[in-house]
C-alpha cells in the first residue's frame, strides 16, 4: 500500500527494539487471522490498542468515538480476512485504516451538527499532549484549573511527564532520548508531580467545601 504524504506523520509508532520484535510476532498473528482464527486478530488488537487509542485521542478529543473507531477497524479486518494480504508493516497498515475510519466518523458527526464544509479528505490534526490532557477533564472549572497548572510547569517538566506517562518510556529510555541524567529526570518529575497534585487537590478540597456549604 502506497503512503500518501499525509500518512507520513505516524509519529506515535514507537520503533524501539522491543517494539520491532513485537512487529514480527504480529506477522504470526496476522497469518492466524488469514486462517480464520479470530485469536490472531485478538492478539493484534491487544498489541496495538494503547497506541491506537492514544493517537486517536490526540486527533479527536472524544474517547467514545475513538473506541468505536478502533473496534470498527478490527471488525472490518475480520470481515475481509479472505482478501487480506500480509502488509509490509502491520502496525502502519492498521494505523492507516484507523485514520481513515476516524475521518469518516468525524465527517458523520460534523454532518449531524450541520457543518458541511470540507468533508472530503480532511486532514486529521494532531493536538499536543497538553491540549489533550486538558480536554480530558469534563468539569469546566477543573479543566481551567488544569490549564493553569500546566501553564506553570516548565517545558522540560511537561516533556518528561509526556515521555514517562504518555509515551510510557522508562527512565533509561528518557535519559537516552534527552541526554539528561536519570537523577535529573527523577527530580524534575518529582517536583512537577508535587506541584500538579498540590494545586489540583487544593482545588478539589475547596470545591468540596463549597458544595458542602
Amino acid at each position: 500500500m502506497a503512503l500518501s504524504p499525509a500518512d507520513k506523520n505516524i509519529s506515535h509508532l514507537p520503533e524501539s527494539d522491543s517494539q520491532r520484535a513485537a512487529g514480527e510476532g504480529l506477522a504470526v498473528f496476522w497469518s492466524e487471522l488469514q486462517q480464520h482464527n479470530e485469536h490472531g486478530l485478538y492478539k493484534i488488537y491487544h498489541e496495538l490498542y494503547d497506541n491506537l487509542y492514544r493517537y486517536g485521542l490526540s486527533v479527536v478529543q472524544d474517547p467514545q468515538l475513538v473506541k468505536e473507531a478502533i473496534n470498527d477497524v478490527f471488525v472490518e479486518l475480520w470481515k475481509k480476512r479472505e482478501q487480506l494480504i500480509m502488509p509490509d508493516h502491520i502496525p502502519n497498515y492498521i494505523f492507516i485504516c484507523f485514520k481513515r475510519r476516524l475521518s469518516k466518523l468525524l465527517g458523520k458527526e460534523q454532518k449531524k451538527s450541520g457543518r458541511h464544509e470540507s468533508l472530503l479528505f480532511q486532514e486529521l490534526e494532531v493536538q499536543p499532549y497538553e491540549t489533550v490532557l486538558i480536554s480530558r477533564e469534563t468539569d469546566i472549572q477543573l479543566r481551567n484549573k488544569m490549564e493553569n497548572v500546566l501553564a506553570q510547569l516548565t517545558a522540560r517538566q511537561k516533556e518528561f511527564i509526556r515521555l514517562r506517562f504518555y509515551e510510557n518510556m522508562s527512565m533509561e529510555e528518557i535519559s537516552l532520548k534527552t541526554s539528561a541524567s536519570i537523577r535529573t529526570i527523577y527530580n524534575t518529575l518529582h517536583t512537577a508531580i508535587v506541584q500538579l497534585r498540590k494545586i489540583m487537590s487544593l482545588f478539589l478540597l475547596t470545591l468540596m467545601w463549597y458544595f458542602e456549604k
Binding site: 480464520h36 479470530e38 486478530l41 485478538y42 488488537y45 491487544h46 490498542y49 494503547d50 487509542y53 492514544r54 485521542l57 474517547p63 473506541k67 478502533i70 473496534n71 478490527f74 471488525v75 475480520w78 470481515k79 489533550v132 490532557l133 480530558r136 511527564i161 506517562f165 504518555y166 510510557n168 522508562s170 527512565m171 527523577y186 518529575l189 518529582h190 508531580i193 508535587v194 500538579l196 497534585r197
Partner: protein, 329 residues
C-alpha cells in the same frame, strides 16, 4: 528503597508501580496487590498515585479496555465467523458414521422383506457443523439437521423405500407416499413413519436415543422393544427398552422455527436449553455463582453468537473444548 516512606509521587515514579497500574506485567500486578493488601495504611497514597498515572497516561484503564475487547468479541462472534471450525474432524466423523451406518443398516435390514443389494450402499452425506442445515429430499420430505449432526442418504432413497441414517439430531417432515416406507436409523433404534413430523435425537454424548412425534404416527423399534407413538409423545431408549412421556410442543415448534428464547433463565436453565437446542454437552464447573436471570431471544443464530451474548451479559466464562461446552464463573 523503603516503600513505607513512599508518597504518591514516589509510587508514580516507580516503574514497577506504573506497570502495575497499566497491568502490563503479571509479576508487578501480583507484587503490588499483595503489598497494598498488607499495608492498608498506604492505600490512600497508592490510590492517588494510580489515579494520576492513569490520568497523565490518558490511556484506558484495564477494565475499560476489557470492556471494549468484550464488545469486539461479541461483534466478531455474531458475524458469519467459524465455518472452518469442525472441518478437521469431519472426515473422521463422516467415515465413522458411514461405517456405523453400513453395519446398522445391514443388521436391521437382514430380516426385512426386501434386502437391498450391497452394491447400492452408496450415500450422500449431509453434515451440519456449526449451524443447522435444511435438507430437501427427493420425495419432497424435509429434514432439518441440527448442529453437529450427520445425515446419510442412500443413493437408492425413494426407489422402493426411504431410509436415512442419523448421527446427532434431526427434525423430519415426511411427505406422504404410499408403499414407500420412511425409516430413520440412529444407533440401534429405528423409527418408521408415514406422513408425519417427528424428531430424532441421538448424540454421541448421550447414551439414549430420543424420538419425539409432532404429528402423524411413527413406530419406534429399539433393540428389545417396539412402540407406536401418538402426537406430543416421546420415547427414550434405555438399555434397549423404551420409556415414554410427553414433551413441550411449543418448545419443539420454536426449535423448528429457529427461535431460541430465554426468559429469566437461571444458570441451570441456561445450560439445559443450550444442550437441548444446539446438541452439545454442557458442563457447569462447580463453584459459587452469582444468581443469573438471563433474558434473550435469538432467531437462527449460530452457537458462538449466542455464547458471546450470554457471556457478555452474564459475565460467565464459556469455553468450547473438544465439542463440549464448559461454563465457568
Amino acid at each position: 528503597m523503603n516503600l513505607q516512606l513512599f508518597t504518591a509521587e514516589d509510587f508514580m515514579l516507580n516503574d514497577s508501580f506504573v506497570r502495575y497500574c497499566l497491568q502490563s506485567n503479571d509479576e508487578d500486578v501480583a507484587f503490588w496487590n499483595d503489598w497494598i493488601a498488607r499495608n492498608p495504611h498506604k492505600k490512600t497514597e497508592t490510590d492517588q498515585a494510580k489515579e494520576w498515572v492513569l490520568r497523565l497516561g490518558m490511556g484506558l484503564t484495564p477494565d475499560e479496555k476489557q470492556e471494549e475487547f468484550r464488545k469486539l468479541r461479541a461483534l466478531i462472534e455474531t458475524g458469519d465467523s467459524r465455518r472452518h471450525r469442525f472441518s478437521k474432524y469431519l472426515p473422521y466423523v463422516a467415515a465413522a458414521a458411514l461405517l456405523i451406518g453400513v453395519v446398522v443398516t445391514w443388521i436391521w435390514k437382514t430380516p426385512a422383506h426386501h434386502t437391498p443389494a450391497i452394491s447400492a450402499m452408496a450415500y450422500t452425506t449431509w453434515k451440519a457443523d456449526s449451524v443447522r442445515k435444511q435438507v430437501l429430499l427427493a420425495d419432497g420430505s424435509t429434514v432439518i439437521l441440527n448442529r453437529n449432526s450427520v445425515l446419510q442418504v442412500p443413493d437408492n432413497y425413494n426407489q422402493q423405500e426411504r431410509h436415512l441414517i442419523l448421527e446427532g439430531e434431526a427434525w423430519y417432515e415426511v411427505a406422504k407416499k404410499e408403499n414407500c416406507p420412511f425409516t430413520v436409523t440412529a444407533g440401534k433404534t429405528t423409527v418408521q413413519a408415514l406422513g408425519t413430523v417427528f424428531k430424532v435425537r441421538a448424540y454421541g454424548f448421550d447414551s439414549s436415543v430420543m424420538v419425539s412425534l409432532i404429528s402423524g404416527k411413527v413406530r419406534v423399534q429399539a433393540a428389545k422393544e417396539a412402540k407406536e407413538l401418538s402426537p406430543d409423545q416421546y420415547v427414550k431408549t434405555v438399555n434397549g427398552q423404551l420409556l415414554s412421556g410427553t414433551f413441550d410442543a411449543t418448545r419443539e415448534q420454536d426449535w423448528r422455527n429457529g427461535k431460541l428464547y430465554f426468559k429469566d433463565a437461571s444458570l441451570e436453565e441456561l445450560a439445559n436449553q443450550l444442550e437441548f437446542w444446539y446438541g452439545i454437552k454442557v458442563h457447569i464447573t462447580p463453584g459459587n455463582y452469582q444468581p443469573i436471570h438471563f433474558n434473550g431471544e435469538f432467531v437462527n443464530k449460530p452457537l458462538p453468537a449466542v455464547l458471546a451474548s450470554i457471556s457478555y451479559i452474564t459475565n460467565l466464562k464459556i469455553a468450547v473444548s473438544k465439542g463440549e461446552l464448559y461454563i465457568n464463573h
